[in-house]
């Protein structure tokens, strides 16, 4: 069991490294291309957000950037997972391979780029003369957030084999979720939208991270514990669904 886990993680890391390399292969600017997209959306939204009336959010650039990169991590990973099993079909059919690696390597790959983006957030924090100390708690949030993403990725990757155009459906769904999640705006409490947002896990994860980093506090302990438990639960369910179905994946491709 331990050996198998080691195998999966080792191979996933190799695949993630390869994909990472391939994405900016043949370009001197390399890593810059990863950061360009989040930086551009950040800049655009900063301008838009600045124009919103009564923008009283403190440290708005940090507020925005954290929301943006966390949501990006989720979108990029799950959309990748919605295609990875299909794209690696010939592999799955011709080698006895732990199919988990195709999902895990995707998560790892986007975890790399997420880390780079987070460094940018820290740099921005320094620039805004924030108390940097609180940034070091982010990895704890990230750990549970990643568990959540792995769980969702496992589920999406399995369903993508059974439903051919799931990747399109998922792309639209994540886009909608992006607008519903308060990334460049804040939801006034006591509003109807706020009640609905309570059902949005992305809202909670982003909120916890922001509360930590900007307001130096942990959200109500109930919410916090609920988020942790649900991330573990989603991970467990995702893993269960995947393990249950993985022997049937090869013959459906």
């Amino acid at each position: 069991m331990k050996h198998k886990l080691q195998n999966i993680l080792g191979l996933s890391f190799q695949l993630a490294k390869t994909n990472f390399k391939l994405r900016n292969e043949g370009s001197y600017l390399g890593i810059f291309w990863y950061l360009l997209e989040p930086i551009v959306s950040f800049a655009v939204l900063l301008v838009v957000g600045g124009m919103l009336a009564q923008n009283t959010i403190p440290y708005y650039p940090i507020y925005l950037f954290i929301g943006l990169i966390m949501f990006n991590f989720f979108t990029a990973t799950t959309n990748y997972s919605a295609q990875t099993i299909i794209n690696n079909g010939s592999f799955l059919k011709s080698i006895k391979i732990n199919s988990e690696v195709f999902v895990i390597s995707g998560v790892m790959q986007f975890l790399f780029s997420h880390s780079f983006e987070f460094i940018l957030v820290v740099a921005l924090g320094i620039f805004l003369k924030m108390n940097i100390l609180w940034f070091i708690f982010y990895p704890v949030v990230l750990f549970f957030f990643t568990l959540f993403i792995i769980g969702v990725s496992f589920m999406v990757s399995v369903f993508s084999v059974y439903v051919a155009d799931l990747k399109n459906v998922w792309a639209v769904f994540t886009r909608l979720l992006w607008f519903v999640t308060p990334i460049f705006y804040a939801i006034p409490t006591n509003s109807f939208v706020h009640t609905i947002s309570m059902l949005n896990p992305m809202y909670h994860f982003i909120n916890i991270a922001r509360d930590l980093i900007i307001f130096h506090r942990i959200v109500e302990i109930n919410t916090f514990i609920l988020a942790l438990i649900s991330s573990i639960l989603v991970f467990g369910i995702g893993l269960f669904v995947f393990e249950k179905n993985k022997s049937k994946l090869a013959e459906r491709l």
Partner: protein, 255 residues
Amino acid sequence: MTKEIIKRIEVQNISKSFSADCRSSIGALSTFINFVTFKKEKKDIVVADNISFDVYSGEVLGLIGKNGAGKSSLLRLIAEIYRPTSGKIKTHGSVVYLTGVEQGIVPRLTMRENIHLMGSVLGLSQKDIRKKFEDIVEFSGLRDHVDMKVYQFSTGMISRLNFSVMINCVNHHNPDVLLIDEVLSAGGDADFQEKATQKMEELIKGGAAVILVSHDVAVIKKYCNKVLWLDGGTIKESGSSDVIIELYERNAPIL
């Protein structure tokens, strides 16, 4: 024979059928509609029907039959890539399954990176790959091109790289059960072909239980002691290779 003869592959009454979707679309909408209306349009395709046989260590079993007779599916069942619908398959020892697919060569990476990637995909740790690296490069005869990107390689060079990595990784696993699906010829020039065939022979005669799928009757004749002739997912004939191949050739003359 000083080596102990062990039963390596046990196949007992296995059957396998695929439920083939006959719907024109398996998209989200049609899946939803079919779910709501309880509509099922499925047809079973039987690729293995009540097949039983054993293979012992040191034995080479040949599988012959027309396209679609269920040869590759049978290998995948033994390699545990597919699950049988019913019946039992047991293998003892390490299993290696080889297919003709060029397993994951990435053209935009260098040969060095490709060796590391393919090695990991074939189940080697980074440490093992580093150990094997020299052997692989040596065998491929592409030492001058180690840091060149593979998309600049000729077809022959790619076959060389592919075969070298494969054979070295397989040797590393020291397989007890070897399943070979049409990958006896290595491609490349005559020199390399000869070297590759020799390696392959060593591997096949190395004492593992081997199942060989090939359309090349001469190859089957050369290596196999026993032959199964598959037709439509069932065993049509089985027995010593000379007898079965004669029957097969009479029945399905090669044009």
